[in-house]
Symmetry: C2
Subunit: 228 residues, 2 copies
């Protein structure tokens, strides 16, 4: 037969790179049918492989989803880093840039974003996943601190990520930034703002986010009392 799969050619009994093919198939399924129509068997079907094959690479459905979620976090991190760098080059606000990047990344791959934050069983103990998650959060921390009217240049603070955030004086501001960005993204993605998009259009909402919401947010950060 030597039939060809959707992404990778199926040469013989072995696939070659089934792991990557399954991830590609999973992303395609998420893009087409959304998180509701996502199925492990469908992914196997698209990769031209039996329903039990994925188990050898991902263990179970949770394993595949965790791999996707890791990609999701990496995508967010990469987009935020790139946007921040570009903003510096262009002389714009870095925090505004990463907010736009967060939102744009989620809208570009809504299925992937929902796997990350959608509370479908992920393996939180997976080391790659944990690292990707921590990296994304560290970017948020770094950029939020850079926007605060204090501690400019104390780069050594950026490094102590894992240990005890509890008493961190900037924690409120960090969580505020994340909450606004994540909240708006989630509401938009889940169709909660559709009744607005009907008249305003999605682009208008994006514009509103980066030109008004983020501005309000930054003003709140700049006016926050450093001695609090």
């Amino acid at each position: 037969m030597t039939r060809a799969g959707a992404k990778a050619v199926r040469a013989g009994y072995h696939h070659g790179d089934l792991r990557q093919a399954l991830i590609d198939a999973a992303e395609a399924v998420l893009a087409e049918k959304g998180v509701g129509g996502f199925t492990l068997r469908e992914c196997a079907r698209r990769a031209g492989v039996s329903p039990a094959a994925p188990a050898h690479h991902f263990g179970n459905l949770t394993g595949l989803l965790t791999a996707i979620a890791t990609l999701g976090f990496d995508g967010l991190s990469g987009a935020m880093d790139a946007a921040a760098e570009a903003a510096t080059q262009a002389g714009g606000s870095r925090l505004r840039a990463i907010g736009e990047a967060y939102l744009a990344t989620a809208l570009a791959r809504p299925g992937r974003f929902r796997v990350v934050f959608g509370q479908m069983g992920l393996n939180g103990e997976d080391p790659d996943f944990k690292q990707a998650s921590a990296r994304a959060f560290s970017i948020l921390v770094r950029e939020t601190r850079a926007e605060l009217p204090q501690d400019q240049g104390e780069d050594d603070l950026f490094s102590r990520l894992p240990p005890s955030f509890a008493g961190d004086p900037d924690l409120a501001e960090i969580l505020l930034v994340w909450s606004v960005t994540h909240g708006f993204t989630t509401l938009l993605l889940d169709g909660q703002l559709d009744f607005l998009a009907g008249t305003a259009g999605r682009e208008a909402l994006l514009k509103l986010h980066s030109e008004r919401l983020v501005v309000l947010l930054i003003s709140a950060l700049r006016s926050s009392d450093p001695s609090a």
Copy 2:
């Protein structure tokens, strides 16, 4: 046999109030197993009824979930209204009160909250659901406007809810409030802040939310330019 169900007694062939019994069972399942372990057959089992029985009251799984989501919105609305009223009595901030109420309601019934916002197929055309959703949003609009340094007392603005929010000058502030509240709630509920709760504890996070996050938010609102 005349066996007794979990919630309502099963007298004969007919149930009596199967619709309510199914909703109760569904909430119990959500509370015990979360949204991942939710199953229509399990709900029917707990109500002491065959797997096909729910179809006559809810059509399908989507119908039952939509009913739950309607309860979820009503719960949010009721809690926010009550908290705002109580805040006025106590001389506190109404906006802070509804923020706490939103968060507390979600934490009290996380499964229900996830049905509302978790992007598991709901019937957005259901009239009860639409009304419950609109009511919750209208409360947010009302309280946000009350916090703005303008338009105090122009109650007629509150009434024009459905028609064209597009050019509303307060839209950015409204969405900011909703984004912060919803974003923080979602992050906390989905375990994204667990690495903080390990050292700080969940109560500390709640305290941080109402004492620092909401304060920052309100300061942003008060400083927002009315002529923007």
